[in-house]
Amino acid sequence: MIYDVDLETLPREDLEALQLSRLKALVARAHANVGFYRQKFDEMGVAPSDIRSLADLKLLPFTEKQDLRNHYPFGLFAVPKENVVRIHASSGTTGKSTVVGYTRRDVRNWARIMARCFMAAGASSRDIIHNAYGYGLFTGGLGAHYGAEELGATIVPVSGGGTKRQVMLLKDFGPTVICSTPSYALVLHEAALEAGFDIKDLPLKIGIFGAEPWTEEMRRDIEDKMGITALDIYGLSEIMGPGVGIECSVAQKGLHIMEDHFLVEIIDPDTLEVLPQGEVGELVITTLTKEAQPLIRYRTRDMTRLNVVPCRCGRTFARMHRVMGRSDDMLIIRGVNVFPSQIESILLETEGLAPHYLLVVKREGNLDTLEVRVEVDEKLFSDEIKNLQRIEGKIVKNIKDYLGVTAMVKLVEPRAIQRSEGKVQRILDLRKQH
């Protein structure tokens, strides 16, 4: 089922015409109302009237997270403050938090976009949606909440944390859809088993997972363990929140980007050149309809690639590959680029390994060392030393073979690795403290 058939299946030609008219209006708005953009346009010698085709987008300046921080809190608003009906802010884990404002129309558009996402995931007004995204300044909770109401489904606003209670509600309310981070879904699965039941036996059938990077292997693991269809959702608070893109349950292959609202490009993060269709690079987004805080060519730091081949589900929106890594999450170990997601794939491919791990990076002398701490669960455990050492050796070999990095592998007791209820800490970089 498609929520917004007219727009979601628009022929590419018509979609591009819509994008161009929206882009022109957006650029004019940003230039007229946001000092930051007016100054940037002037510096680069570009005027709103220079935008005559979508290809002219490359004439415009980029926007970076640092620009939002520099204009903290409301410096990039394009409307008077009385027209702003809501504020969200990022967690600020990598610096000062970034603030986003929404007008009444922005909030409505977001709800409709999220309703589209739920329907693309296979949900309808008949479903009960267990929303374990945090409510508050974080966009996840409220974003999914209003989308579910817009759809007419029943929303259970559980928010994050309180795992035992979440597990009880899953059993008692029998939701058919769950929204959470993928790692938290696995925490709930474990907690349910400890409470004496299996989520597999509940009515739950769809999981919408986002807010942290995950892998195909982790998807299969979640689907097997929980007996659900697991779908990847993408979004970032600077742009709007969850709903920028989602996988459809029909193809489960790539996330449809809501292109009538978001204009996307893929660039080389070093040269900043726009890359040809299908190449891997950094995703850049221009918000076509945002009123309160329009962003032009926002650098997401997320690495992916785009596919415009029409999807089996009927949607014509381009699909992005699941996020492959973040340009600023990337570890450089003795000159080799390592993404945590790559290590996770290797662990999942090594038979029987739970995806609970921590990467510890240290500097010994002048040499960077990578230690991979892996939890030993019952599936992996053996009462014979040689079996455990064989697994350690296999991980070391696979990391060396696939990534070209020599790592030390350390088996640890379960829960020795900090289990968070929100974003999972996968990296402990001790080099920065020296």
């Binding site: 030993v376 669960d377 019952e378 455990f381 053996s382 009462d383 014979e384 030393i385 455990l388 050492q389 350390k410 088996l411 640890v412 007791e413 379960p414 829960r415 020795a416």
Partner: protein, 143 residues
């Protein structure tokens, strides 16, 4: 004829072993025999206890990874050549010993050796045919 042994994964750091013995003590579980295999990073504690179901459940509740394995306990004369006689039979029969540990009973002229074999059923048959007494689990748990 097999004996249930539990095994516990332990990180190689102070206090982990003590945590295991504390949990067992609090739950009134007695240890009949034990062995600890270790590497520089981790160890595997193998135990034969009075109540393996209870031991496994309470250790798991406390976050330990616990496994269960069937092992074979053989009674042997506590005199020179006792163990050798057993190993000769196994070696001739092509059975491999993965690991073993032994203990001597109080006021008795025999020792008990706990074996983990690669071919458990074959080993029991070989030893039984030669007249060795295989000690049943129920007897060992209640020693």
């Amino acid at each position: 004829m097999k004996v249930e042994q539990i095994s516990i994964f332990l990180e190689n750091r102070a206090g982990r072993l003590e945590e295991v013995t504390r949990i067992l003590a609090e739950n009134q579980v007695s240890i009949r025999a034990l062995s600890l295999a270790d590497t520089s990073d981790f160890g595997i504690l193998r135990l034969i206890v009075s109540d393996h179901e209870k031991a496994k459940a309470t250790l798991k509740e406390n976050g330990f990874t616990v496994g269960r394995t069937s092992v074979v306990a053989v009674e042997v004369d506590d005199q020179p050549g006792g163990l050798h006689a057993i190993l000769q039979i196994l070696s001739a029969g092509g059975v491999n010993v993965e690991y073993m540990y032994a203990f001597v009973q109080q006021s008795s002229k025999t020792a008990i050796i706990v074996f983990r074999f690669d071919k458990t059923d074959q080993a029991i048959e070989l030893l039984g045919n030669k007249g060795f007494r295989i000690i049943p689990g129920s007897e060992l748990y209640n020693l």
